[in-house]
């Protein structure tokens, strides 16, 4: 989820950063106007609202700086971490995957996996960071905005084409399709600049942009639902077969029980009888031992299931055992 939210996080941080300015609080030692500007401790406030300075603005600004630091570090940390643990990732260590698997979720991990495939993850994150730069930092430079996104899409297509990083061929093709649709939208966006001044063409271009986006979202939704429906259908088939054979198994079990009802009853009765017999023998032997009437008696512990005089050995544990 963090990876998906990365775009909004980066843009929000960039917006706050664009309006951020460092001001200094009042210095009691210097009472004049110039002294108020030259302060000892720097504080943070938002641009153009320095008069509204408060700890609230400082908290907001500090959180923006923290988010910006995270956004800068995260793509580089990701690729460093994945390169460092390349062998572990490749080996498919379950414990490691449970902890950090979200980083390479959807990527093809097998014997043919190479480190170059991780450039996809890096670029996936870095282009979102770049989107923050394009939309906020270069918000007055239209050329960089459009060409930047076009180049990002082209690079992404090259990476997908060269490394085929995703698990299935369908995923890789879908990624191609997504990049192609983004490229189409960006080429349409060129017609919404001063390059094309006719108003009614702009309206039609807007409609084309909406249609392209609808196709893009629609295809992704259809494929997503198709996957969900396929998985659900497979699960239902498995459940139906399980139910079907459960009934067969149940019938067989019932038949078996009916057939062996007598044997079972005999076995249970024999077990009960043996237990009772052993207990009574133990009690009898204990009584004899206590009285000391017969010193030849050998007491055998109960775990052997045997209690006997030395001349009459009786393995009661085997009596009444039933095996099919």
């Amino acid at each position: 989820m963090l990876i998906e939210a990365y775009t909004v996080l980066a843009v929000c941080a960039f917006i706050n950063f664009a309006a951020l300015e460092f001001v200094r609080g009042p210095d009691p030692a210097e009472d004049d106007e110039a002294g108020r500007r030259m302060q000892k401790v720097g504080r943070l406030a938002d641009g153009g609202h320095s008069s509204d300075f408060s700890w609230g603005t400082t908290i907001v600004s500090c959180s923006a700086i923290a988010a910006m630091s995270f956004c800068i570090i995260y793509p580089f940390w990701t690729i460093w971490f994945m390169n460092k643990n390349f062998e572990l990732i490749k080996s498919g260590d379950e414990e490691f995957e449970a902890k950090y698997g979200a980083l390479w979720e959807g990527l093809r991990v097998d014997d043919n996996t190479t480190k170059s495939m991780f450039t996809y993850t890096f670029f996936f994150l870095f282009r979102r960071f770049g989107l923050g730069i394009l939309t906020v930092v270069w918000r007055d430079t239209l050329f960089f905005q459009i060409s930047g996104l076009i180049f990002c899409s082209i690079f992404s297509m090259i990476i997908v084409g060269q490394t085929a990083p995703l698990e299935t061929r369908r995923d890789n093709n879908l990624e191609y399709f997504n990049e192609f649709m983004i490229l189409s939208v960006m080429y349409t966006a060129i017609c919404l600049t001063d390059f094309q001044p006719v108003e009614w063409i702009r309206v039609y271009t807007g409609s084309v942009m909406v249609i392209v986006d609808c196709i893009h979202i629609g295809v992704n939704l259809v494929l997503m639902f198709q996957t969900t429906i396929n998985v659900s259908r497979l699960r239902f088939t498995r459940w139906r077969l399980w139910r079907k054979y459960a009934k067969v198994r149940g019938d067989r079990m019932l038949e078996f029980q009916k057939k062996n009802r007598h044997k079972t009853w005999v076995a249970e009765t024999a077990k009960y009888r043996n237990k009772k017999q052993v207990n009574s023998k133990i009690h009898a032997l204990q009584a004899i031992q206590e009285e000391g009437e017969n010193e030849d008696i050998e007491y055998v512990p109960y775990e052997h299931g045997v209690a006997h005089r030395d001349h009459e050995i009786e393995d009661v544990s085997l009596q009444g055992e039933f095996s099919d």
Binding site: A5, L9, H49
Partner: protein, 91 residues
């Protein structure tokens, strides 16, 4: 993110992207007033009309992030809980 570009977006496309953005941004609940009241700040205006149209109505980070901030709190909270649980597990 198309509306954030410096293109002259027609109304039909602007309305469409304006509708899509809150869904893409996971912004379920409006938390702007909550942050303004809690931090005792008055949110400044957006960087431009384009930013305002897609939901970045101010320059403040927390206000713009909206409800996603609370969803993202899950990770540091779970890290703290895991650290505390690990600490007590030793003893």
């Amino acid at each position: 993110m198309i509306p954030l570009f410096r293109i002259d977006l027609p109304d039909n496309a602007a309305a469409f992207f304006g509708f899509l953005f809150p869904i893409a941004a996971f912004d379920i609940i409006d938390t702007g007033d909550f942050w303004d009241d809690t931090l005792s700040v008055s949110s400044p205006d957006a960087l431009s009309e384009n930013f305002d149209s897609v939901g970045f109505g101010t320059t403040y980070f927390l206000q713009n992030l909206g409800s996603m901030f609370f969803i993202m709190l899950y990770f540091p909270i779970m890290m703290i809980v895991g650290f505390i649980a690990g600490f007590f597990h030793k003893y």
